[in-house]
């Protein structure tokens, strides 16, 4: 790990100003990803601004604005606390399930909600500084494109980067249509829809998301929904715990009897961002909730996948996982708040 300066602060605005003073500084929250990357010499900040003392941890009902009757989660709250809070377990069991499907209990106890959104890819070519990687070192090429890319993207990748974004939490947030509140340089708050928050790699894979330098995630807002009773998160991985998704699916069904009023489906492990299954959602809207319709929707969604040399299996697996998640959602959330 390279030597660095350690600074701490107690207000969001002061934190933003400190970061502004040093172009090589980074915010430090839970540190479960950043410190690992510093030890690997991938991230090389010369100053860490500790933001863990900021008052951004509360979970509360929203009473005004567009997300009124929804729930707000503090950007610096711990993943564990978000997953286990009564407001979340009762109204957004999908989020609880997704968070608990990620990492390990120890990591979730340290990791923050805002930090989770800013997780970097787990692509091993990104982690290995001897390897080419446009995300780590723009212009060096993509090691995974012609390398070992079993874990990599099947949607939305570019010639510059085939990495996937690893968060489970964000896949649920995508299906829940959350918005991310961010404090800008001027101290004002702007709101970014979760599905606009992460980017596809295009020509700039080094940019994971649309945050401007110096912006700080203050909270995540979950709008009210009516599919808490019919939600499921299915994560397919190489072992039963503590592994990143090969494919994951967050699904929620708003039902009127056996008719699907609306379906909310997002996928993880397939793209540089949580992948909204918009085609599947469109097909299912207004249809009856049957296995045949689930399969039709899943196959349509996966029909435009562009797999790489080692991950062709993700297409079929994606179909199966969407069907499985929808079937589980239809049965009813297997979860007591």
């Amino acid at each position: 790990m390279r030597p660095f300066k350690f600074t701490n602060t107690t207000t969001s605005y002061a934190a933003i100003n400190l970061l502004d003073k040093n172009p090589n500084a980074s915010f430090l929250a839970g540190g479960t990803n950043l410190l690992d990357l510093m030890k690997e010499d991938v991230e090389r900040p010369d100053e860490l601004i500790d933001i863990t003392r900021l008052d951004l941890t509360s979970i509360s009902s929203i009473t005004t604005g567009t997300n009124s009757r929804g729930v707000s989660i503090g950007g610096l709250g711990k993943n564990t606390d978000a997953a286990n809070h009564q407001l979340i377990r009762k109204n957004y069991p999908l989020l609880t399930k997704a968070i608990l499907a990620g990492a390990s209990a120890q990591i979730r106890n340290m990791a923050t909600n805002g930090g989770n959104l800013l997780q970097r890819t787990r692509c091993s070519y990104f982690y290995d500084t001897a390897m080419p990687c446009n995300k780590r070192m723009p212009g060096t090429g993509c090691g995974a494109m012609d390398g070992f890319n079993r874990m990599h993207a099947i949607f939305g990748w570019s010639d510059n980067c085939v990495a996937v974004y690893p968060s489970d939490m964000a896949v649920a947030l995508s299906a829940l249509n959350a918005s991310i509140n961010v404090m800008q340089q001027d101290g004002k708050i702007r709101s970014i829809a979760i599905n606009d928050f992460h980017r596809l790699p295009e020509t700039h894979p080094e940019k994971d998301n649309v945050l401007n330098r110096g912006e700080l995630i203050t909270s995540i807002e979950l709008p009210k929904n009516n599919f808490a009773a019919h939600a499921a998160y299915v994560k397919v991985r190489d072992r039963n715990s503590y592994a990143f998704a090969l494919v994951s699916v967050a699904a929620g069904l708003v039902l009127d009897g056996n008719k699907i009023v609306s379906a909310h489906i997002s996928m993880g492990g397939v793209a540089h961002k949580p992948w909204q299954a918009l085609k599947a959602e469109a097909i299912l809207k207004g249809k009856t909730a049957t296995l045949t319709n689930f399969r039709l929707a899943a196959e349509a969604e996966m029909s435009e996948a562009k797999p790489l040399s080692h991950n062709k299996f993700k297409v079929g697996l994606g179909i199966n996982t969407i069907i499985s998640a929808l079937e589980m959602a239809l049965k009813g959330t297997d979860f007591k708040a």
């Binding site: 690997e40 787990r122 299915v234 397919v236 991985r237 072992r239 039963n240 592994a243 697996l317």
Partner: protein
């Protein structure tokens, strides 16, 4: 001594359990030394070539740095000293990706790590040999004579006449040992002598190889290793890091600590190589084997040969008039493979026992029945009688305990919700051997209380050596276990075999037992009395008013062991559940039934067996390391990519032992259980997956993509 007062055979707790869970057991890096400096290795980023320039100037100037050691300034070491894997900084040549090319020594670990990042290296690359799939056709006969083709009858000819045949190739990937304690050393020089605190499965082997490599006499090197945080073969032979710590300490003239990082563990201390195993089975229509061929193709390092003996199980498991065991090997620019839990047998049994399951399916026969039909009376490879062989009992009692009768013979018929359930069985074996070991017993009496110290340069990987030696000495001396102090893990103690190849318990315990018998005999002579009932050493110390007495025994394996074929055997039963949508498989139940002679301590023995089973579950379902053939690096480079099982991956595990009295392999009847626990496990699981899904997976691991 009355049976009820004996310690051996009782499920006693580990005598060092409290020390371990309270953090008081001292592992290599726990040894404090005044004025310690910290060393960090840095590694090559090519697989083959020559270092043309290595610029350490920036690293040397970095804060806290005491020395940067590369091939340019390293002292001359003996490359043939017995260390494994080269990488001793003796030349600019690079033979594999991740070879050590230098060491930074600094005041702190962090400073050394940082400085290591500042070293700039230029290479002249040579063409690498790293793509095993492309190189496998070029494989040739190994140099090792024990791996020459073993031919009985005519396997290739006779299979043509077989009514039913299985001819398939089974592949296993590179696996890593990854013990919980990464390899680490503290080196402290005392004049011309050096003390090396270092986790070592073979204490005397570590001593002699370190000494020879450093151009010292063995007595100038002392290895201290009372506790080891696992090794699984990777701490059997020693690797460059041991000696480079001593070199660093000499150069900076201070004690030095060097611990490998988890990432460095991938390419510093050996690995289990990839194998392609072709099995050809021919049988009569009623299931009698007439032909068995086991042909292994594998790889080794470019400068040294190690091949795991995948054909070993096939030599002895089944009766067949025609048999062929062969090996072909190709050198590659990759670290030297090495002994990895159940070397050859864990991987070989996956191939053989999967093929037997395939044969049973083709014969429409229960796989247990097929195995029972082909049991050999004598060792088919050499005609020697078995010392004992309890395969039939393992299979029959295991089937009963596991509920084998509930297995559906047709695959895919046992479905619960979205899960397919399957049962699988597979057998395994591992040789039982005793190796030369010596032990000293020191008795001390204070009034009517006798205490004993047992000294032997044995090792304890975490398996329970300390405990079984205390049990052995307690029974041998007529004392309770609390009166025994066991001293192991120090090369200044009487020399002993190692905790390798399942020889540890038999070698160490027999040495201690011999010492107990000898000390009792010597006390009897000293007493100059005749006793109607033979007294214990403890009783003699008291009755003869002796304050201190000691003796040493040099134990050797019995001669008759050589006239027999002595092995542990097992039968493994697996139940798996496979999600029909996601392809995720879970081993919901596993039972290992083992016939391994005398079980000294059922509690630590059970831990050994289920530990092997868990390795086997990882081997079957998740462990695989991938090399990128463009560079020779591991694309799987952390525990995020290399998936050892988690608690959640493990269902209900059970271990049963078949009662087996067999004093032929050694006086105490110990066969050893360190390796056999993993043998047959992967095949039992793969066979269960077939029974569940109808999918025969011949390439491990069985990840979800292979089952959808």
């Amino acid at each position: 001594m009355e049976e009820k007062n004996k310690s051996i055979g009782k499920a006693v707790n580990r005598i060092d359990g409290i020390l371990k869970i309270t953090g008081k057991a001292t592992y290599a890096t726990d040894y404090p030394a005044k004025n310690m400096a910290y060393a960090v290795l840095f590694k090559s980023t090519i697989a083959s070539g020559t270092i043309t320039n290595i610029d350490v100037s920036e690293a040397e100037k970095s804060q806290g740095v005491l020395a940067v050691i590369t091939h340019k300034n390293a002292p001359k070491l003996n490359l043939k000293g017995g260390l494994r894997g080269g990488a001793l900084l003796q030349s600019p040549e690079v033979y594999f990706y991740g070879q050590h090319i230098g060491v930074v020594v600094a005041e702190t670990f962090e400073q050394a790590t940082h400085a290591a990042h500042l070293v700039k290296v230029e290479y002249q690359k040579k063409e690498e040999k790293i793509d095993f799939d492309k190189l496998a056709p070029l494989a040739v006969l190994p140099q090792g004579k024990e791996l020459a083709d073993l031919i009985r009858g005519d396997a290739k000819g006779s299979i043509k006449e077989a009514a039913v045949k299985v001819e398939e190739t089974y592949e296993t990937p590179i696996e890593h040992h990854h013990p919980m304690e990464p390899h680490s050393t503290v080196a402290v020089w005392e004049g011309e002598n050096v003390v090396l605190y270092n986790g070592s499965q073979v204490i005397n082997g570590a001593q002699t190889s370190a000494a020879a490599t450093l151009n010292l006499k063995p007595e100038q090197v002392r290895i201290i290793s009372p506790y080891i945080g696992g090794g699984f073969g990777s701490k059997g032979g020693q690797w460059a890091n041991l000696v480079l710590t001593a070199v660093a300490a000499k150069i900076v003239n201070r004690p030095v600590k060097l611990a490998l990082t988890r990432q460095q563990m991938f390419n510093s201390v050996g690995l289990r190589q990839r194998n392609k195993q072709k099995i050809s089975l021919g049988a009569t229509i009623d299931g009698k084997l007439i032909s068995l061929a086991h042909e292994t193709t594998t790889h080794t390092a470019v400068d040294s040969e190690y091949i795991e003996p995948c054909g070993d199980c096939s030599k002895i498991m089944y009766e067949t008039p025609n048999s062929l065991i062969s090996y072909r090997v190709v050198p590659m620019n990759i670290i030297l493979p090495t002994y990895t839990r159940g070397p050859g047998k864990s991987t070989g049994s996956f191939a053989l026992e999967s093929a037997m399951d395939e044969l049973a399916y083709k014969l429409n026969m229960d796989p247990i029945e097929l195995r029972l039909k082909n049991q050999p009376e004598k060792d088919p490879s050499n005609g020697k009688p078995w010392s004992s062989r309890k395969v039939i009992e393992c299979l029959k009692e295991g089937a009963k305990a596991f509920g084998w009768e509930k297995r559906k013979s047709k695959p895919g018929e046992n479905k619960i919700g979205n899960h397919l359930i399957g049962y699988g069985v597979a057998c395994g074996t591992y040789p039982a051997r005793q190796r030369d070991s010596s032990a000293v017993i020191k008795l001390n009496r204070s009034g009517n209380v006798v205490n004993a110290i047992v000294e032997i340069a044995a090792s304890d990987l975490g398996t329970g050596t300390n405990t079984i030696l205390a049990q052995t000495a307690a029974d041998g001396l007529g004392l309770s276990m609390e009166r025994i102090t066991v001293k192991i893990g120090d090369s200044n103690l009487p020399p002993a075999a190692g905790s390798v190849g399942s020889v540890g318990a038999a070698s160490f315990a027999n040495a201690v037992n011999d010492a107990c018998i000898k000390i009792t005999n010597e006390l009897l002579v000293k007493s100059n009395k005749k006793f109607f009932v033979r007294p214990t050493a403890s009783q003699l110390m008291i009755s003869e008013n002796i304050n201190d007495f000691e003796t040493r025994a040099d134990a050797k394996p019995p001669k008759e062991a050589e006239q027999h074929s002595a092995h542990s055997f097992n039968a493994n039963f697996a139940e798996v559940s496979v999600n029909v949508y996601t392809g995720m498989a879970k081993v919901t139940r596993f039972l290992a039934v083992t016939g391994a002679g005398k079980i000294l301590n059922p509690k630590t023995a059970r831990s050994q067996i289920i530990g092997g089973n868990i390795w086997g579950i990882g081997m079957a379902l998740s462990e695989e390391s991938i090399i990128d053939p463009r560079w020779g690096n591991f694309a799987t480079r952390s525990f995020g990519d290399y998936h050892v099982p988690t608690n959640f991956d493990i269902g209900k595990l059970d271990a049963m032992f078949i009662n087996e009295e067999d004093k032929i392999p050694n006086k105490m009847g110990i066969k050893g259980i360190g390796e056999v626990g993993i043998v047959g496990v992967a095949a039992a699981i793969a066979n269960a997956v077939f029974n569940a899904t109808g999918k025969r997976i011949r390439t491990l691991p069985i990840t979800p993509d292979k089952l959808i």
